[in-house]
């Protein structure tokens, strides 16, 4: 095809969908400006590398946490506003397990303080030497407990809260999930206290300085762990969805629930596995994020819920692969936006993109491909 062809198509696109065309133009302008900034040295390559790395870390978390949100949104048909607090609950459970094991089951500090993740400043992660390198067993146990705790929480909540009103409208379930979020979040404060705690030993994290054109970018073991865990889990999920009967059933149910039921798919069982997979992934994601972030507090994942929503909406509700891709996009937007706007507004930028996608293309950027 010739130049005039693509010119013609571009013109049609511009006329048919001016808002989307404007978004594309904004994106291209920003990309060109980024190249210019890098070329003239206004932004250093190494600075940019750090931003890119942070964006990747956040994006992996958003993607992994978003899978569960996306699955419940499409299979149970409601926006779960308690998803963030579910992650917080799982993370507290996981970090508590890490504390208990790293603290020698009460030999280094009172067992109560360890179980409560050092509530009230009674014991600190740095004192216990917590880190992937320094206490690998404790961290491994923490990952498992975080997943188990999130799954248990999700199943209990589903059994007593969502299951009795399964047949009601999505709005009813949404409002109910706001109630769940409230109860869960403040129960966590009630038990673990309102303090923000550092949960790792920053001096015990090995890192390497990767040389970039005009400087270096530090990559530490916790970042590599987050990356490895996220990629392994995503691949595992891909295998599960594509190769197993359960995966096929889940995809069928996301596509058309009535049809799935008619073909004899046990929908309640699929719903249960939806919660298990979604909450398990979210719990692990939350725990790894806490390790990377080095801090833990009671509304940490509530305040990250909206970016996760943004990721899910961007990728198209119901699409697992979309959630992963959307998560990466939102992660990069949040960290790269500081190149152009003040850092305080980076989350605002992510939300505005989410709103723009909802307005322009509510089916997501990978429309028409609901994979699970």
């Amino acid at each position: 095809m010739g130049v005039s062809d693509s010119y013609e198509r571009g013109r049609e696109f511009l006329i048919e969908d001016p808002i989307r065309a404007a978004l594309v133009i904004v994106f291209v302008v920003l990309a060109l400006d980024l190249v210019r900034q890098l070329a003239v040295g206004q932004t250093q390559f190494s600075e940019f590398g750090v931003l890119l790395k942070d964006g990747l870390m956040r994006g992996l978390f958003f993607g992994l946490a978003g899978i569960g949100l996306s699955m419940t949104y499409s299979i149970l048909n409601f926006a779960n506003f308690a998803h963030g607090d579910l992650i917080t609950g799982g993370a507290f459970g996981g970090v508590a397990a890490t504390y208990v094991i790293a603290g020698g089951f009460g030999t280094e500090a009172a067992l109560g303080s360890l179980l409560l993740v050092g509530a009230g400043g009674s014991v600190f992660g740095a004192a216990l030497g917590i880190g992937v390198a320094t206490s690998p067993l404790a961290v491994l146990a923490g990952v498992v407990v975080a997943a188990v705790a999130s799954i248990a929480l999700a199943l209990i909540i589903d059994r007593f809260v969502y299951k009795p009103i399964r047949d009601r409208s999505g709005i009813t379930l949404l409002i109910t999930s706001i109630g769940v979020a409230f109860a869960l979040r403040y129960l966590i404060v009630f038990v673990f206290g309102p303090g923000r705690r550092g949960v790792t030993d920053p001096s015990g994290i090995p890192s390497v300085a990767v040389p970039v054109i005009d400087g270096t970018v530090n990559v530490d073991l916790h970042e590599v762990s987050l990356l490895v865990v996220a990629v392994v889990l995503m691949l595992g999920l891909h295998f599960l969805l594509q190769r197993t009967r359960l995966g096929k059933a889940m995809r069928a149910m996301a596509d058309n629930e009535d049809l799935a039921r008619i073909t004899g798919i046990p929908t309640e069982r699929v719903v249960r596995f939806t919660w298990i997979i979604g909450a398990g992934l979210a719990g692990v994601a939350g725990y790894m994020f806490v390790l990377w972030n080095e801090t833990l507090h009671w509304f940490q994942f509530w305040s990250l819920l909206l970016p996760v929503f943004a990721a899910v909406i961007l990728g198209g509700i119901g699409s697992v692969y979309g959630a992963i891709a959307g998560g990466l996009v939102i992660g990069f937007v949040m960290s790269l936006s500081v190149v152009w706007i003040p850092g305080g507004l980076s989350r605002a930028a992510a939300f505005l993109i989410m709103i723009a996608v909802l307005l322009v293309r509510p089916e997501g950027i990978f429309a028409g491909r609901s994979t699970a």
Binding site: S113, F190, F351
Partner: protein, 454 residues
């Protein structure tokens, strides 16, 4: 329910039903006040503390009732799922603050940004208009979205508002020679006292001050009695505003315009098919509701002396939602009742209750949950109870969440039962009723689709 048959009869019965509502409302509010007075007596509060407590109670009842009424226009009447209430409140009070703070023409010290020094009433009007305009800005593109997407857009925007208020680069700057700004993370000091301004406008401030000092001395509430009277007066002013909200929204609801809104809630396509431009109706309703939310925000924060961005978290939006759902969406009387119950029982109640307990028993609470639970092994529940009472401030939010879940499970129509006003002008009950010209039943409707089953 029972109203369905009654309201069909004639105007007289309708008036009786309405009177019942007013009676119920008065009984509810006086019951709540009485409970607080009794609690105060248990605590052997002095008169000053009693008066302060009651002033605060009426303040919160009025504020939450007003906000629930405004939200009812969105959700109860029009079916717009707005969970960004706090954003509109924030825009309202911030605009008022910037317009009405004292003018500063030289560069101020850090953290003391000024305003344009306009009279407070202009600031309030400005705040209401700004909230309404922002509502229009949101509504224009967002109204065609599905309810749950609309919810995510509104809550996202309310957070964008908060991030903007927090932003350092907007902290202060020079506009038309005035030093103004959003104050960043440290927020804005409100150097106007709404009560003083109100009295000053009528030239009553001096006589009021004298009156409060004399009366304060006469009834013995100690030195500096003016803040006590200020609180009571502000509570009363808010109750007047609440009546204004109620009358306005009830008139809107029963007007032909309000019937179209309810019709949109029931079935937007059918309303469109009847030739109504539903988008315009929805935008108007959204803008009016947002403006009222702005006013609610102004009234809530104007007397606080200072505002900081982090007070404007989505939490308050959900408070208003809980209030609305308690009372039952779709009914103005229900909204007011929900606001009153939420403020008195769920919001202020637990803290007041824990004060009563702490005042009555010698309590020495432990610091952490572990220390509280540990003694349970030795069958000693006292530390856990003490910890619970001590941390009631957090536990009340757990209770709110559980109440919301309970309501959605068992009484999604609100504690008063089916009170949703229907779109129809005529009662949808039995057909033998006379139909001419009776206003819409205050509680005559069945739920949405129940109508078909008649």
């Amino acid at each position: 329910m029972s109203g369905a048959e009654q309201s069909a009869d004639d105007r007289g019965t309708l008036a009786a039903v309405w009177e019942q509502d007013a009676v119920k409302l008065t009984a509810l509010v006086s019951g709540l006040f009485a409970a607080y007075v009794v609690g105060g007596l248990l605590l052997s509060y002095g008169l000053r503390q009693q008066l302060n407590e009651l002033a605060q109670l009426s303040f919160f009842i009025a504020v939450f009732a007003m906000l629930a009424l405004a939200l009812n226009l969105h959700w109860g009447y029009t079916g717009l799922f707005n969970i960004g209430v706090i954003g509109f409140m924030g825009i309202g009070i911030y605009t008022t603050a910037i317009l009405s703070k004292g003018a500063t023409l030289t560069e101020p010290a850090a953290g003391t940004t000024g305003g344009f020094g306009l009279p407070l009433w202009i600031g309030i009007i400005g705040g209401v208009v700004a909230a309404g305009l922002f509502g229009g800005l949101v509504a224009l593109p967002a109204l065609r979205l599905r309810a749950d997407y609309f919810a995510i857009v509104t809550v996202g925007l309310s957070e964008v508002v908060r991030f903007t208020l927090l932003e350092q680069s907007l902290q202060q700057g020079q506009v038309l020679g005035y030093w103004v700004g959003l104050g960043g993370g440290s927020g804005l000091l409100l150097d106007f006292d709404p009560v003083d301004r109100l009295l000053g406008a009528f030239g009553l401030l001096e006589s009021y001050t004298r009156f409060s000092e004399r009366t304060g001395e006469a009834i013995g509430i100690g030195s500096n009695p003016k803040p006590v009277f200020d609180g009571i007066l502000y509570g009363l002013v808010l109750l007047v505003f609440l009546v204004g909200f109620y009358v306005l929204l009830t008139r809107v609801g029963s007007s032909p315009y309000g019937r179209v809104l309810k019709a949109i809630r029931e079935d937007e396509d059918a309303t469109k098919a009847l030739g109504k431009d539903t988008d315009r109706f929805k935008i108007k309703a959204f803008v009016i509701g947002c403006a009222l939310m702005g006013l609610g925000g102004i009234l809530l924060y104007a007397s606080q002396g200072a505002i900081t961005p982090n007070a404007f978290r989505p939490r308050i939006t959900f408070f208003v939602w809980i209030a609305l759902i308690i009372g039952g969406a779709g009914s103005n009387t229900g909204s007011v009742m929900g606001g009153a119950i939420f403020a008195a029982v769920l919001y202020q109640g637990p803290i007041f209750f824990s004060n009563v307990i702490e005042g009555s028993f010698e309590i020495d609470a432990v610091n952490t949950f572990a220390q509280a639970v540990g003694p349970l092994a030795a069958a000693d529940p006292v530390p856990l109870l003490a910890y619970t009472v001590d941390n009631i401030g957090q536990l009340r939010f757990v209770i709110m969440g559980l109440v919301l879940i309970y309501l959605m499970h068992n009484r999604p129509e609100g504690i008063l039962g089916h009170r949703k006003e229907t779109a129809s002008t005529i009662p949808l009950g039995r057909r033998r009723a006379k139909t001419g010209g009776s206003p819409p039943a205050t509680d005559g409707g069945e739920e949405n689709r129940g109508v078909d089953g008649e």
